[in-house]
Amino acid sequence: MRRENLTLLALLLPAGAFFAAFFLLPLARLFLVGASGKGGFANYATIITDRNHFASLLATLALAAATTIVTLIISGIAGVFLQRNKFRGNAALVAMLTLPLAFPGVVIGFMVIVLAGRQGLIGDISQALTGEKIVFAYSMAGLFMGYVYFSIPRTILTVMATAEKLDPRLEEAARSLGASPWRVTRDVIIPGLKPAFISTGAICFATAMGAFGTAFTLATRINVLPMVIYTEFTLEANIAAAAALSFVLGAVTWIVLAVARTAAGGTVAAAG
C-alpha cells in the first residue's frame, strides 16, 4: 500500500511541478504585482473607486448576463426541439449547431464582421429591403452577437443531454390535465432543465466575462474589462493596474463557476 502511494505520488510529480511553477507561482506573483506601485493594495479597490474601471466592470457584467440569458433561451428552445423530434436531417442540424465549438474568439469576431460589418450580410439585406445599411459589428451590439455565437455550441449539447433524461410522462400528465403548451413549458420542462441551465449558464457567463479575442478583433472603443486590462498593460504600461484588474477578473469568474457547481451539484467546467 505504502509502495503504491509512492508510485502514485511519483506519477503526479511532473504535472504537479509544472503546475506549481507555471500557474500557482505566477498567480501569486500577479497578486503581489497588483499591489505594487504607488497604490499598493489600494490598486485592488480601483475596480470600484476608479470611475472608468467601475463602468467597464458594470458593462462586462451586464454583457455577460445578457449573453447568458439570450443563449439559454435560444439553446433551450432549439435543444429541446431537436432532442424531442427526430426527423431527417436532425443529426446534421445538431452537428452544425455544435461546429463552432472550438472557434477562437478572433475568428468569432471576424464572423461578426462578415455578418454585421461594413461589407456584411445584414447590411446588404437591410439595404436591399429598406435602403438603409445596418452596421453594428464594431459596437457593444456586435460584441454581444459574437458572444451569443460562441455560447450556443457550448450550451446546446448539455441542454439536449438533460432534455433526454426528462420524463415525457410528466408532460403527458400535465397536458391531459388541460395545461397549455406554454404552461407545460413553464411548469414542467423549464424546472426539469434547471440543472443544465445553471451549469451551462455559469460557463457562458464566465467565458463572456473573460473573453478577449472577439473584443480585440472588433476592437475600437468597446469598454469591457479584458480590453481595459489589455490597454492598461500595453498602452499605459500600467502593469500594477493590469495585474490587479486581471486578478479580480480571474477571481470573479472562478467564483461564479464554483458557486454554480455547488448549486447544480454536478460538474461544471468552462471551456475555451
Partner: protein, 268 residues
Amino acid sequence: MRDRGSLFYAQLAFALLVCAFLIAPVILSMLAGLTANYQVGIRSGLTWRWVGEVWSGYRETIFLSIGIALACLACTLVLGVPTAYVLAKRQGALARALEELLVMPVAVPGLATALALIVTYGGAGGFRTSWVFILVGHVLFTLPFMVRSVLAVLMAIDLRTLEEGAASLGASFRQRFFHVVLPNCRSGIVAGSLMVVTLSMGEFNMTWLLHTPLNKTLPVGLADAYASLRLEIASAYTLVFFLMIVPLLLLMQALSRPRPRKLRVEAE
C-alpha cells in the same frame, strides 16, 4: 408519433434560423477568400490569389501553430495521462481538490494567466522570446481537457479488477500501466488528444500576450490580418484556418456520438 402541428414547424424554423446564424458567416467568409472582389460579389470570379498571398506571407504562422499543437499534445500526454490515472485510483477529498485546482487555468481568463506568466518569467530573456513560452501557456490551458477525458474513461471501466488480474499473473507496475491501463483508456486518450490539438491551434487570449514578433501563431496572424488587410485576404486566411480545424472538429463529433455498448467482462 405526434402529429406535426404549427408548433413543430415554428420550432423547426427557429432551429434552422439559429443554424443559419452560425453557419452562414462561415460559408460567406470561405467564399470571400476565394472571390476576386467581395464588394462586387461572386460574379467578379473565383481566384486562388488571396490564398496564395496568405501562403507566401503567413505560412510560418501555420507551421508554428502545428508545431506548438503537436508539442502541446506530447506534453499533455506525458503530464495528463498519469495524473488522470492517479485521480482515478484515489477518490478522496485531496484528489478532488487537486482536480479542482487543475481545472483553474480554464476558469481563469487567459489574459490573467498570460499576465501572470509575464510578470514572473518576463525577465528570463531566452525563455520569454522562444516559442516554448507560448507552449507553456497552451499546456496549462489544455491539460484539464486531457485529464478529464482520460479520467472519464478510467472511471467507466473496472480498472481495479483489470489491474488485480494482471498483478496476480505477475505483471509489474510498469507492465500493468503500459499494457493494461493505457490500452483500456485509448478512447479517452484519442478524444482528449483531438481536443488538445484543436484548442491549441485556436488559442488566442493567452498567445496574444505571450508571443513575440518572431513567434506568431496562426490566430495571432489572423488578428493581424483582420486589423490591417483587405477583407479577401483576411477571409482566405480564415479559410486556411477552417481547413485545418474543421476536420478535427468533425472527427471529434463522430467519436463522441454514442455507439452501441460494447460487451464488457463483468467481474462482480
